[in-house]
C-alpha cells in the first residue's frame, strides 16, 4: 500500500513536472544560400556553392521545425525554445529570426576550427554543444538543408547523443508524460508513431509553414547581438545589453564546447568532393499526385498561377 502511494506520488510528480515546467526544446537551424532561385554564378569553378552570390536565408525546413516547436510552446505553458546554429558570424541572423518568431534564446556555434565540416563533423560539433546545454526534452530540426540536401545531420546528432529519432515529422500531436506522438509524412500516406522523450525529431517541408515574424518581438530583439557583433559595432545601442540581458546572443567557440579536435572541421570530415558535373535534365521534373481533392486543387492552382491554363 505504502509503495503504491509512493508510486502514485512519483507519477503525479512526473506529470506535474511536464505540465508545470513545460518542455525544453532545442531547434537546430542552418543559414543556407537561397538555392531556390539560382543564377549563372551560383556555383564556383571548383564545384562548391558560391555563397556570396546567393542571399543567406533560414533553411526552409528548419522553419517548419521551429513552427512545430513554437506550437508546443503555445500548448505546454512554461516551455522554452532555444535555437542552435553553427556557422560564420553572420549566422547570428538565424538566431534573431528565431527570436522574432517566438524563440526564447539561442546559441551560435562559430569557430574557424569548424570550417569545412561535412555532415559527420557538423553533427559531432552540434552534439557537443547540446551536451553542453545539457538540459532538454526535445531536439527538433528540419529534414534537410537546401544547400547539401543530405538529411544526415539530424539523424547523426541523434546517434551521437544516443537518442531515439523520428524523421519526416509533419505534426507533433502530443508531447507529455515523457512521451511524444508524431504524425510522419511518408511517400504514400501518413504514419503516427509514439516515442519516448527526450528524442530527436526532424520535420518535413509538408508541415505547417512557420508563423510570420511578430512586430513587437522584432522590435524587442532587433538589437540582440553576439559578442563579436558588439565588438565590431561602433555605433549606438551597445550598452543596452547590460540592462537587457535578453539582447545577448550566446556565442560559443571550439573552446566553449568540449570537443576532440580530430573530429572537427576538415580533419573530421571524410567526405571529399571528387567531381562536379553539370547535369541538364532530359526529362522534366516529375511530381507524384494523388487523386485527392487537395492534390487536384493544388495542381489547378499551380497551373493557373503560371498561366499554363488560361
Amino acid at each position: 500500500m505504502r509503495s503504491f502511494v509512493i508510486f502514485v506520488f512519483l507519477k503525479i510528480k512526473l506529470i506535474l513536472k511536464f505540465y508545470k515546467m513545460g518542455l525544453k526544446i532545442i531547434v537546430l537551424a542552418k543559414q543556407v544560400p537561397d538555392t531556390r532561385n539560382v543564377g549563372k554564378d551560383a556555383m564556383k569553378a571548383d564545384g562548391t556553392v558560391n555563397r556570396a552570390a546567393l542571399p543567406a536565408i533560414f533553411n526552409p525546413e528548419d522553419l517548419n521545425a521551429l513552427e512545430q516547436a513554437l506550437r508546443l510552446k503555445d500548448k505546454y505553458k512554461g516551455s522554452t525554445v532555444t535555437v542552435l546554429t553553427m556557422g560564420p558570424g553572420r549566422a547570428a541572423d538565424i538566431i534573431r529570426e528565431g527570436l522574432f518568431r517566438g524563440a526564447d534564446d539561442g546559441y551560435l556555434l562559430t569557430d574557424r576550427a569548424f570550417a569545412g565540416s561535412d555532415t559527420l563533423a557538423t553533427s559531432y560539433a552540434i552534439s557537443c554543444a547540446i551536451r553542453k546545454i545539457k538540459s532538454f526534452d526535445l531536439i527538433m530540426a528540419g529534414r534537410q538543408a537546401i544547400d547539401g540536401d543530405t538529411a544526415q545531420v539530424g539523424p547523426q546528432v541523434a546517434e551521437k547523443l544516443n537518442l531515439p529519432q523520428i524523421t519526416y515529422a509533419e505534426e507533433i500531436l502530443k508531447a507529455e508524460k515523457g512521451k511524444i506522438l508524431v504524425k510522419r509524412r511518408l511517400e504514400r500516406g501518413v504514419e503516427t508513431v509514439e516515442g519516448p522523450l527526450p528524442c530527436v525529431v526532424t520535420v518535413n517541408g509538408s508541415a505547417a509553414p512557420c508563423r510570420p515574424r511578430a512586430a513587437k518581438l522584432l522590435m524587442k530583439y532587433k538589437h540582440a547581438k553576439t559578442m563579436s557583433e558588439k565588438q565590431s559595432q561602433s555605433e549606438d545601442y551597445i550598452d543596452m545589453s547590460t540592462d537587457r540581458p535578453y539582447l545577448n546572443i550566446a556565442e560559443w567557440s571550439v573552446n566553449d564546447v568540449e570537443t576532440d579536435d580530430k573530429w572537427l572541421g576538415l580533419t573530421g570530415s571524410p567526405t571529399k568532393v571528387k567531381k562536379i558535373e553539370n547535369v541538364v535534365f532530359q526529362a522534366k521534373e516529375s511530381k507524384v499526385l494523388s487523386d485527392s481533392d487537395k492534390d487536384i486543387e493544388e495542381l489547378m492552382r499551380e497551373l493557373i498561377l503560371n498561366h499554363t491554363i488560361g
Binding site: R36, N37, R211, P212, R213, A214, A215, K216, L217, L218, M219, K220, K222, D236, Y237, M240, R244, R301, I304, L305, H307, G310
Partner: protein, 569 residues
C-alpha cells in the same frame, strides 16, 4: 516569395521624408516609453528602423499569402452560417497571418498594446495590403475605428476595447441605412436609454456595413427622440459578444468580394455611448470618416500599383506584329501616363498622411498637458491642411485608380476581359473607391472650400517658395503659369456669387488645384530623388493641358448656360 515592401523602393522613399523627424518626435514624446516597453524605440533612427523592418513583415505576408489568396477569395467570398459571417478560407488565412505578426493595432498607444506607429507607416501598410488584395484591406483597415475610440471614448472604454483590437479582433463602422447613404443626417436607428439599468439599447436597421459582424462596432444612432437632423445623433460601441444583432444578408457585390458587406438588424442591442450625446455625426463620425477617407486613398494607390504592374508585365511579354506591344507609342504612352498618375497619387497620399500625423499627435499631447502657443498654432496649421487635403486625396486618387485599372485592362486587350488575368478582378475592385466613404461628388463638396477660402492657393504658394535645383526651375515656371490660370478661373466663378454656379464648376476647380498640388509634390520628390523626374515631366505636361481645358470650359460656360444641363421642369 515576393516582398511587396522591398520590391517597391518608392515606399521607402516616402517613408524617409524629412518631416518624419518631427512626426516621430511628436508621436514618441521624446522617446519616453523607451524604458517602459521593451519594444519602444530609443531614438529617431531606431524608430525609423523599426517602421522599415515591420513594413518588411507586411510586405512579406502580402507577397507570400495575401496576394496569392486574392483570386480564390474573390471567387469564394464570405457567407452567413448560424447568424455569423464566415470569411472565405483565404481571407481567414490572411487575417491569421497579420494577427500573428501583431499588425492589428498599429497606431494605438503601447498602453493599449498597440505599436504606437505614426499614421505614415500605417497608411504604407494599407497601401501594400491593397496592392495584394483590395477587398481584404477593408477588413484589416477597420482598425481605424480603434483610432476613433482612442480619440473620443472614456479611459475605461479604451482600456476595455483597445487591447482587444491590438490583439486581433476586427471592427466595423455602422453608419449607412437604407434611407441614409450620402445623407447621414437621416439616420433612423434608435438608441433608447433605459433608466432602470442605466444602459442604452439600439433598435433598427443598418445597410452596406463592411465587416458588419466585426467584434467591436461603432454605431451611429438617433438618441434624441423627435429630432430629424444630425444634431440628434450619437455614437455607440456595440460588442458582438452580446449577440443581439441579426445579420440579415451579405450583399452580392461587383468587386471587393472578399469583404463582407452586411445588412444588420439591431434588436434591443445593448450599447455604450461614446463621448457626449448629439456629437455623433457632427464630431465623431466626421473624424472617423476623415480617417476612412485617408484609408481609401491608400487603397486607391495600392490598386493603382497593382494595375500598373499587371499592365507593364503584360506589355513587356505580349508580342504582336513581331514585337512586344510596349514598343508601340499607343501602349508606352498609356504606361508612362499610368506611372505618372500612380506616382502623383502616392506622393499626395503620404503628404496628407504627414499632415494628419502631426495634428493628431498634438491633439493627443493636448490631453496630457497644455500646448504652448506655438504648438497650438502649428496644430491648427496642419489640421487645416489635413482637412482640405483629405477630400482632395480621396477624390483624385480614387478616380485615378479607376483610370489606371481601365488602361491596364485595355493594354491586356481581349485577355483582360477574360477571367484569366488578375486585372479583371482589380478592375472590379477599383470601382467602389470613387463611391464609398463619400462619392467623388461629395469629396468635391468638401474640397471646394479649399478653393474658395484660398487654402489650396496658400499651400501652393508655400510649395512655390521651396528651394529646388536650378535644372528643375522649368517645371516650377510651368506650375506658376498653371497657378495664375487657376486663380483666374476661381475669380471668374466666385465673381458670379451664385452657389449653384459654384457647385456646377466645383469639380473642375478642385481638379485644377489638384493637378498643381500633385505637380509640385512630384517636383519636390524629384528634388530628393531624380527617379521621379520622368513622372514629373509627364504629369506637369498633362496637368497643364487638362487645366487649360477646364479653364476654357469655365470661361465658356456662364451661369446662363446652366439651363442647358438642368432637368426639364
Amino acid at each position: 516569395m515576393a516582398n511587396f515592401f522591398t520590391d517597391n523602393t518608392d515606399l521607402l522613399f516616402h517613408l524617409q521624408h524629412p518631416l518624419m523627424k518631427k512626426i516621430v518626435a511628436l508621436k514618441e514624446r521624446d522617446f519616453e516609453d523607451k524604458d517602459k516597453f521593451d519594444y519602444a524605440p530609443m531614438d529617431f533612427e531606431d524608430a525609423m528602423d523599426s517602421y522599415e523592418k515591420v513594413l518588411e513583415i507586411v510586405g512579406e505576408i502580402c507577397g507570400d499569402i495575401v496576394a496569392p489568396n486574392a483570386e480564390s477569395v474573390d471567387a469564394e467570398g464570405p457567407k452567413i452560417v448560424n447568424n455569423e459571417v464566415i470569411y472565405a478560407k483565404g481571407t481567414q488565412e490572411n487575417l491569421d497571418a497579420l494577427v500573428k505578426a501583431g499588425l492589428m493595432g498599429i497606431t494605438l498607444p503601447r498602453k493599449y498594446e498597440g505599436l504606437n506607429f505614426p499614421i505614415v507607416p500605417y497608411i504604407m501598410a494599407a497601401d501594400i495590403v491593397s496592392r495584394a488584395d483590395a477587398g481584404f484591406v477593408n477588413i484589416w483597415g477597420l482598425q481605424d475605428c480603434a483610432e476613433t475610440i482612442n480619440e473620443f471614448a472614456s479611459e475605461d472604454q479604451k482600456e476595455r476595447f483597445l487591447p482587444r483590437i491590438s490583439n486581433g479582433e476586427t471592427a466595423a463602422m455602422d453608419l449607412t441605412e437604407p434611407d441614409a447613404g450620402s445623407d447621414l443626417q437621416a439616420v433612423q436607428l434608435k438608441a433608447t436609454y433605459n433608466e432602470k439599468d442605466g444602459k442604452w439599447y439600439l433598435n433598427g436597421v443598418k445597410r452596406f456595413i463592411t465587416n458588419g459582424d466585426g467584434h467591436v462596432s461603432l454605431v451611429l444612432a438617433r438618441s434624441e427622440a423627435g429630432t430629424t437632423d444630425g444634431r440628434g445623433l450619437s455614437m455607440f460601441i456595440y460588442d458582438r459578444n452580446h449577440k443581439k444583432v441579426t445579420i440579415r444578408r451579405i450583399e452580392n457585390k461587383m468587386g471587393i468580394k472578399g469583404s463582407p458587406t452586411c445588412e444588420l438588424v439591431f434588436k434591443d442591442a445593448p450599447a455604450e455611448l461614446v463621448g457626449q450625446t448629439r456629437m455623433g455625426l457632427i464630431k465623431y463620425v466626421m473624424a472617423l470618416m476623415n480617417g476612412a477617407r485617408l484609408g481609401i486613398g491608400a487603397q486607391s494607390v495600392g490598386i493603382s500599383e497593382a494595375a500598373y504592374r499587371e499592365a507593364l508585365a503584360y506589355a513587356e511579354e505580349r508580342k504582336q506584329f513581331g514585337k512586344t506591344i510596349i514598343e508601340f507609342p499607343a501602349v508606352y504612352e498609356l504606361l508612362a501616363t499610368m506611372k505618372a498618375r500612380l506616382d502623383a497619387s502616392r506622393t499626395l497620399l503620404y503628404e496628407t498622411s504627414r499632415y494628419v500625423d502631426i495634428y493628431k499627435s498634438y491633439m493627443h499631447i493636448s490631453e496630457e498637458r497644455q500646448l504652448t502657443k506655438e504648438e497650438r498654432a502649428d496644430m491648427k496649421y496642419y489640421q487645416r491642411l489635413a482637412d482640405f487635403f483629405t477630400p482632395l486625396l480621396k477624390g483624385m486618387t480614387s478616380e485615378y485608380c479607376n483610370q489606371l485599372a481601365y488602361d491596364s485592362l485595355q493594354i491586356h486587350g481581349g485577355s483582360g476581359f477574360m477571367k484569366d488575368y488578375p486585372i479583371e478582378r482589380i478592375y472590379r475592385d477599383a470601382r467602389i473607391t470613387t463611391i464609398y466613404e463619400g462619392t467623388t461628388q461629395l469629396q468635391v463638396v468638401a474640397a471646394i472650400r479649399g478653393v474658395t477660402t484660398g487654402s489650396y492657393l496658400d499651400r501652393i504658394r508655400e510649395f512655390e517658395a521651396m528651394a529646388i535645383k536650378p535644372e528643375l526651375h522649368g517645371f516650377r515656371r510651368t506650375l506658376i503659369g498653371m497657378t495664375e490660370e487657376y486663380e483666374k478661373a476661381v475669380r471668374q466663378v466666385m465673381e458670379v456669387k451664385d452657389n449653384e454656379y459654384l457647385d456646377f464648376h466645383a469639380r473642375r476647380l478642385v481638379e485644377m488645384a489638384g493637378h498643381i498640388i500633385m505637380g509640385y509634390l512630384l517636383l519636390l520628390d524629384t528634388e530628393r530623388d531624380d527617379k521621379f523626374r520622368t513622372s514629373t515631366e509627364i504629369y506637369v505636361r498633362m496637368g497643364r493641358s487638362e487645366n487649360r481645358a477646364r479653364a476654357e470650359y469655365i470661361a465658356n460656360c456662364t451661369i446662363d448656360d446652366l439651363g442647358f444641363f438642368k432637368p426639364a421642369q
